[in-house]
């Protein structure tokens, strides 16, 4: 099997599963990048040179995907032919959406009050939720509960977005 036919986990020498040893991921990624580094292919055939470049590009995509737990879960679901439908599935549990709204209001309130501490507190709360969702994902994958895993990815997508927005709000207040 050629390197380019492998999935991202196989490409980076890791088991195809949600749990990833991040230190090992780093190590295998650096190793693969050095193996396909352009310097090594200066005298190689045009074909080998091109292939090494493709592998280097794919290794980079694989690394970016696998090191982020939301992206990793989304990718694992894709391998099962399940799309997470983050663009089109708008039905989320009502209590989760209520929480999103409360958080959005809290960001607005804290921003107008220039209250960085409140934003930091909110960010910590959101990080705790992200952590518990990631733990749920791990259980869902070991149970092959892909529909529920798909919903967890959609929830994490909200969380990633709101975290980025809070970071931006904090930066604006600090400047």
């Amino acid at each position: 099997m050629g390197l380019l036919q492998r999935n991202y986990f196989e490409l980076l020498g890791l088991p195809t599963q949600f749990e990833v040893d991040l230190a090992l991921l780093d190590q295998h990624y650096r190793q693969l990048q050095s193996e396909v580094h352009p310097d090594r292919f200066v005298t190689a055939s045009a074909n080998d040179r091109m292939q090494s470049m493709q592998v280097a590009t794919q290794a980079n995509e694989a690394y970016q995907t696998l090191k982020n737990s939301t992206a990793r879960a989304r990718y694992l679901l894709q391998l099962q032919d399940i799309e997470t439908l983050e663009e089109s599935n708008t039905a989320m549990p009502a209590e989760f959406l209520m929480l999103q709204m409360e958080w959005r209001e809290a960001i607005d309130d804290a921003s107008s009050a220039k209250d960085i501490t409140a934003l930091d507190t909110l960010l910590a709360e959101i990080k705790r939720m992200a952590k518990s969702l990631t733990q749920e994902l791990s259980v869902q994958f070991s149970d092959n509960a892909y529909e529920r895993a798909s919903e967890s990815v959609r929830k994490l997508s909200f969380i990633d977005k709101i975290s980025a927005d809070i970071h931006r709000a904090i930066e604006q207040l600090e400047n």
């Binding site: 989760f96 959406l97 709101i162 927005d165």
Partner: protein, 127 residues
Amino acid sequence: MAYSDKVLDHYENPRNVGTLDKNDPHVGTGMVGAPACGDVMKLQIKVNDSGIIEDAKFKTYGCGSAIASSSLVTEWLKGKTLDQAAEIKNSAIAEELALPPVKIHCSVLAEDAIKAAVADLKSKQPA
């Protein structure tokens, strides 16, 4: 991104922002969210005894197009029956607001919110 005049108008002067009592048997609440952009929309409708929507309120966190889409539909909903409300299509919202292709999902969110509010109301009413 340049917003159309209609989007700007609804964004700057949103109609019918607010909340209705979700425990009122005449009120239906629809909450939807778009994971890709983090937008959250709450749409509420209130029907009178003849089954006509007499009030609609919304609360939306999101981009200008999402706010404009929900503001617009609250205007459209008033005076309609539940069945007429459920027929509102996202394409009509997108056309009215001249939404660019990347913002079509905002109109989908509004359509889904209407459907969710209608379903909630129907579930409250005796069959």
